[in-house]
């Protein structure tokens, strides 16, 4: 799975993108966030406020219960502030 981080999620995790091998028990957006949180202090800090995180799976907004798979591009970012 390809993971992308934007805005302060990029600053806090310390990376813009990475390729990860998903554990077998990670099948939804919510499970992915929980798994990511356990990967280190920087991830735990970046993901501590779930309400402030938006997730897109293959460039479309996704909810916690939506499925994710090994071939997806998943992006994590704060609420948007363009315009």
């Amino acid at each position: 799975m390809k993971l992308l981080y934007f805005a302060w999620l990029k600053t806090k995790t310390g990376m813009a993108e990475e390729d990860v091998a998903l554990p077998e028990d990670v099948a939804t957006v919510g499970e992915l966030l929980t798994w990511l949180e356990g990967r280190g202090a920087n991830f735990a800090d970046a993901l501590s406020d779930r309400g402030a995180i938006r997730v897109a799976v293959n460039q479309s907004y996704a909810k916690p219960g939506d499925p994710v798979g090994p071939n997806d591009e998943v992006a994590l970012f704060p609420p948007v502030t363009g315009g």
């Binding site: 302060w8 600053t11 460039q59 907004y61 970012f77 609420p79 502030t81 363009g82 315009g83």
Partner: protein, 157 residues
């Protein structure tokens, strides 16, 4: 119907001329142009950098524009959004909608801006004398966008 995401500035007059050129069914064009301000939350801003997610930006903007075209009888529309480093006074965004009559043009232009503010994946990093800071999303933008949501007849109250 066109969507452009670019670092370069744009010329509103030229864009409008191009948008309406030759289409005499157009009776009115509504235009919104967003500019960088020099103040935010009481701090002075020297510049801002707009980060975006290119693949999703184009997809989202195209979807938003398609929805506007479905809801209003539009003859033409244009969305331009810039990214990169911008200074106070610079143009950030332009939305133009053209229709036979003004109501469709005004409403769809406002609709596109409200959705763009809450859905298009752009993030502003402001440079102030206290350092660089990511801008927080505003609840008022969500409220503005929510008024365009169509009531789902199947939704349980």
């Amino acid at each position: 119907m066109a969507v452009r995401v670019q670092a370069e500035d744009f010329d509103v007059g030229k864009e409008l001329a191009q948008l309406t050129n030759g289409n005499h069914a157009i009776g009115g064009v509504a235009v919104f142009v967003g500019l960088v301000r020099d103040l935010a939350g009481g701090s002075e801003i020297s510049a801002m950098t707009l980060e975006h997610y290119p693949a999703m930006t184009e997809k989202m903007l195209a979807e938003i524009e398609a929805e506007a075209t479905e809801r209003w009888p539009l003859e033409a529309s244009l969305i331009i959004h810039r990214f990169g480093r911008l200074e106070p006074g610079d143009q950030i965004v332009m939305v133009a909608t053209a229709s036979a009559h003004r109501q469709a043009a005004f409403e769809s232009c406002e609709f596109l801006m409200d959705w763009l503010k809450t859905k298009a994946p752009f993030w502003k990093l402001e440079e102030t004398d206290q350092g660089a800071q990511w801008v927080d999303a505003r609840d008022s933008d969500d409220t503005a966008a929510a008024r365009w949501v169509k009531k789902d007849p199947d939704a349980a109250e």
